[in-house]
């Protein structure tokens, strides 16, 4: 969430909202990223064991990511509305696991929920923390569509940069020296 790392609560569910998948968008996404016949051709898809067109798992996951980003922005607005300075979310280093459980068909509505299951300070990037997020997607029949364990970066509010890092950062601002330092690191 777009809270400071220190303020993020563990095991609290954040509803991310729902998305209804149309045949048009399923085909459009799959044409670019996963053009297997059961994702792009409604007629041929009938021959598959799915019995019809289904969304690429990568598509349902990308929509889940969008839902998470929208929730982060909404939280940012909420905190600003309360007169608070929101935290900063960073890019993700990866995904520990992703399980596709049930197919998504045209007209299906998928509801996404995020839970932060753990957090710790980053060892490699000073001033940032790692968040361990579980994102679960459920369809309109209550069946699980996918379950994922994701990792994300979040900025620390109370971080004090060590003196030697502050000196190094100041040195990177010196033209020639800065290039040498950034090449080394």
């Amino acid at each position: 969430m777009t809270r400071w790392f220190e303020d993020i609560t563990i095991d609290e569910d954040f509803p991310l909202g729902s998305h209804t998948f149309s045949a048009e968008e399923i085909i459009r996404f799959a044409t670019l990223y996963d053009p297997q016949y059961f994702h792009v051709d409604p007629e041929l898809a009938k021959q598959s064991h799915f019995g019809g067109l289904i969304a690429s798992g990568w598509h349902t996951v990308s929509v889940g990511h969008r839902k998470m980003v929208d929730a982060l922005f909404a939280e940012e607005d909420r905190l600003r509305g309360l007169g608070q300075e929101p935290g900063v979310s960073g890019p993700s280093p990866g995904v520990n696991s992703m399980e596709f459980k049930a197919p998504v068909r045209p007209g299906d509505t998928v509801t996404y929920t995020l839970t932060v299951t753990g957090k710790r300070a980053s060892n490699s990037i000073p001033g940032w923390g790692l968040l361990f997020n579980r994102l679960v997607a459920i369809n309109q029949h209550g069946e699980m569509v996918y379950k994922s364990d994701l990792v994300g970066f979040s900025k620390l509010r109370d971080y004090q940069m060590p003196a030697k890092l502050r000196v190094l950062l100041a040195l990177t601002k010196v033209p020639v020296l800065g290039k040498l330092i950034s090449r080394r690191s």
Binding site: L32, Y33, D34, P35, Q36, Y37, F38, L44, Q47, S48, H49, F50, I54, S56, G57, W58, V61, S62, V63, H65, R66, V69, S89, G90, P91, S92, P93, G94, V95, N96, S97, M98, E99, F100, P103, I125, W128, Y146, F153
Partner: protein, 159 residues
């Protein structure tokens, strides 16, 4: 019952552990990055060059989900559309190692790591594949282990 779409394709029995699939190459344009980010990942560091410069990524870079999607597209073109694939089961240990910047060309290999019969569905096998996606400087961009279902020619395990 044979599937007319896939009966000419390679089946589970035709695959071997250690087989290496060449993914070919894809060049990632600014337009591709922004189009994907607008729909699926509208963080400023995927949409705006100025905002991206001061982010952890250091410049306009593709969404990790787009990098994965483009890698998947390359695997479909080079492999999954030529086997009797019946969908993905999921993936593990996906790591985004280096951001993909505007103009970068990504490619690499996928290696079959494991083949096993499905215990619940005798007509299916599971192929597990390791992705090694790299950029034009041969720097690792993304790795992951993907599991995909494949039709078997024969439902029973031969004695």
């Amino acid at each position: 019952m044979t599937n007319p779409v896939t009966h000419d394709r390679r089946h589970f029995e035709d695959l071997a552990v250690g087989e290496v699939i060449d993914l070919g190459h894809t060049t990632v344009s600014k337009d591709m990055i922004i189009t994907f980010a607008r729909e699926f990942d509208p963080f400023p560091f995927h949409l705006d060059e100025e905002a991206a410069k001061t982010s952890l990524l250091g410049g306009l870079a593709s969404s990790g989900w787009q990098t994965g999607g483009l890698s998947l597209k390359m695997l479909v073109d080079s492999f999954l559309s030529k086997i009797a694939s019946c969908g993905g089961l999921g993936f593990n240990d996906l790591k985004w190692k280096t951001p993909v910047m505007v103009g970068d060309t990504i490619g690499g290999t996928v290696t079959i790591a494991e083949l096993r019969r499905s215990s619940s569905h005798p007509q299916w096998g599971i192929v597990t594949m390791d992705f090694d996606v790299r950029n034009q400087k041969d720097k690792p961009v993304m790795t992951m282990r993907l599991a995909n279902l494949v039709e078997c020619r024969q439902a029973e395990v031969p004695a």
